[in-house]
């Protein structure tokens, strides 16, 4: 294992070991932290001398140096370019991170978001000058409501978990309005961690519901937990095992039967768009990750956006602001009589609204329906290609993601983590691992609809090859992986136990804060 500052060439069996003088490997160039570069006094800009002035900062005046490195412009440009080249990105290849839906971000979306009439807007502009933007929000809201068959939508939540917060706060507001404070929220054990976290953050007790042998919510166990103190349930459909919750209508009826509400985690809506309308299933609230289902950038590429569709029972309690048609065109409602409040400054992630609407309009209803179908087809293609070498967690076909357990690695001494590290060497971002927690050593793969058949064939061939290699008894190879990365196996345990959160100069300078 290499220490974080030590650079190692990758000695490979049967290959001549070639060490460079610099330690660089062709395009793989070592890059120190920006604070470790530069020189005092060097600068990318020629700043004029500070004019004579009376200092009125008093005790607030900085006592030490600011501690910024002295760098020229090319140094800064090269630094960040080199860092960006160490990144794996959806623009480079398959990104099979299950449950995250890393799909291609169409360039048309970007072009639309950069139109000056959209990109140069400011949220403080008078309403009369942003009618087009409000119309765009209204149109996106219309299509989200149409696709889900729900009567209302709160557009402001900034991401999936924020959408969950919005949904549960809306449910709580509706319950309090009828003077019925309740205590518990039922959450399946396979849920995204944000579900129980949201319920707990809203003051509810989280009551876990076990999964059955088919990887779905155990309906009998669910019903046994129901009672007059249950505020609602949070269920993901398709769930995190990549399976459709077949009993969803029974679940909805059961929760409504005790006066609770049904929150659906819509993180996997991308698998059913144009085919299933959540409103038809009895759902009261569901967030939609625009950065998953509607192809806006995801994971460092841009902010998320998580609008929440609401049933008629919950709609009055939706947060402000929202767009309405007024006598003078579009207007923003900033105060609602029953609204539970405001979740965010302004109206939501405008840039993501533009991209999501561009995606919808360029695909059309037939295209959206095809995208969800292809996402499911691609996942099943992977499942079928790998099922003989690996062990699917559940029998039968899957939805948009293929889930395996680590049974196929039993007795090989190779763990799911080792397997993932070996995938990095093959040029693939690893799949999601050890999630969902209900599956032992889980490997969760989501190719999305944007991968081609030949791309999937190559992927299957590589993953199958790794599985064969593990079973052939080559554990040492896996324990040493990755070999071809700028850094070898990182010590994740040490990083978690003793995180180094901030660079500090070696020789202590005086109060460089």
């Amino acid at each position: 294992m290499s220490t974080p500052t030590q650079f190692q060439a990758a000695p490979m069996q049967g290959e001549r070991r070639v060490r460079t003088i610099s330690g660089n490997k062709g395009l793989q160039i070592e890059e120190p932290l920006i604070f470790e570069q530069g020189m005092k006094g060097r600068s990318g800009v020629d700043l004029p001398a500070v004019p004579q002035h009376k200092d009125r900062l008093g005790a607030l005046k900085r006592k030490g140096e600011i501690g910024l490195p002295g760098l020229s412009e090319p140094q800064v440009v090269r630094h960040y370019t080199k860092l960006s080249q160490k990144n794996y990105a959806i623009d480079m290849g398959v990104y099979p991170l299950g449950s995250c839906t890393m799909k291609h971000n169409p360039r048309l979306n970007e072009k639309m978001a950069r139109l000056p009439g959209i990109g140069d807007l400011h949220p403080m502009q008078p309403i009369s000058t942003v009618q087009g933007a409000l119309e765009l929000i209204d149109q996106l809201a219309h299509w989200l409501k149409t696709l889900t068959n729900m009567p209302a939508v709160a557009m402001s939540p900034a991401a999936g978990a924020h959408g969950e917060l919005c949904g549960i706060m809306t449910i709580r507001a509706a319950l309090l309005a009828r003077g019925d404070a309740r205590k518990r929220i039922l959450v399946p054990e396979s849920a995204h961690g944000t579900n129980p976290a949201t319920a707990a953050a809203c003051g509810y007790e989280v009551d876990p519901v076990p999964a059955d042998d088919r990887g779905r919510v155990d309906l009998a166990a669910f019903k046994a937990k129901l009672g007059p103190d249950v505020a609602g349930t949070m269920i993901t459909n398709p769930n995190t095992c990549g399976l459709f919750e077949n009993d969803i209508i029974d679940i909805a009826d059961a929760i409504h039967g005790v006066g609770g509400y049904f929150y659906c985690d819509g993180a996997n809506f991308n698998a059913i768009v144009g085919r299933v309308r959540p409103g038809d299933l009895g759902i009261d609230a569901m967030h939609i990750n625009l950065h998953k289902t509607f192809s806006t950038p995801h994971g460092g590429g841009g902010p998320g956006s998580g609008p929440v569709v609401l049933s008629a029972a919950l709609a009055p309690y939706a947060p402000v602001p929202y767009v309405v048609h007024g006598p003078n065109g579009f207007a923003l409602v900033e105060r609602g009589e029953q609204a539970f409040g405001r979740l965010k400054g302004f109206h939501g992630q405008m840039g993501m609204f533009v991209r999501a609407l561009a995606y919808m309009m360029s695909h059309g209803s037939d295209g959206l329906r095809q995208a969800s179908g292809d996402a499911v087809l691609n996942a099943n293609y992977i499942l079928a290609g790998l099922k003989d070498e690996m062990t699917p967690a559940f029998p039968g076909t899957c939805m948009h993601e293929a889930l395996f357990n680590d049974e196929f690695l039993e007795g090989t001494d190779v763990t799911t983590l080792d397997f993932a590290k070996a995938m990095i060497d093959e040029g693939y971002h690893p799949m999601t691992m050890y999630f969902p927690l209900v599956v032992h050593g889980a490997l969760l793969m989501e190719p999305t609809e944007t991968e081609s058949r030949d791309g999937l064939d190559r992927y299957v061939e590589v993953v199958k090859g790794l599985a064969k290699r593990a079973k052939a008894g080559d554990a040492a190879y896996f324990k040493g992986a990755p070999y071809h990365t700028p850094r070898r196996r990182l010590d994740e345990t040490l990083a978690a136990r003793q995180p180094v959160l901030r660079w500090k100069p070696e020789a202590p300078k005086k109060a460089a804060e």
Partner: protein, 125 residues
């Protein structure tokens, strides 16, 4: 003589008088992998059997540790905050989580003894 019993959620309990020492089993620490953080309850907290007692976080996942018995927390193993690795190194000894003053000793009898727990773990594979 003190006796150790086990819960289905992979906690162990050692009962001495009316004081129960609680930790997670060797199997549990093995499944979790390297433990990186332990969140312990406050002394004086009253816990109910089956409810959350502590949280343990590993490189793989964060999990709840449930109270196998009802009672009041009288002592916690605060060394775990600094050295969570103790849970991996000595789950059944130095890696204990908390001590409870047990309110209903009869609950202890409903937990599994060593042989039953061993059988239970084997059944999970």
């Amino acid at each position: 003589m003190s006796e150790v019993r086990y819960s289905q959620e992979h906690e162990w309990v050692k009962l001495e008088g009316d004081t129960a020492t609680i930790g997670i089993t060797h199997y549990a620490q093995e499944q979790l992998g390297d433990v990186v953080f332990v969140d312990l309850p406050e002394v004086g907290k009253k816990v109910e059997k089956g409810k959350e007692l502590a949280t343990v976080e590993s490189v793989k996942a964060a999990s709840e540790v449930y109270a196998p018995l009802s009672g009041e927390v009288v002592e916690v193993n605060s060394t775990l905050s600094e050295t969570p690795a103790t849970v991996n190194e000595d789950a059944l000894g130095a890696g204990w989580f908390a001590k409870l003053k047990v309110s209903d000793k009869s609950q202890f009898g409903s937990l599994m003894d060593e042989a039953a727990y061993k059988k239970y773990v084997e059944g999970l594979h």
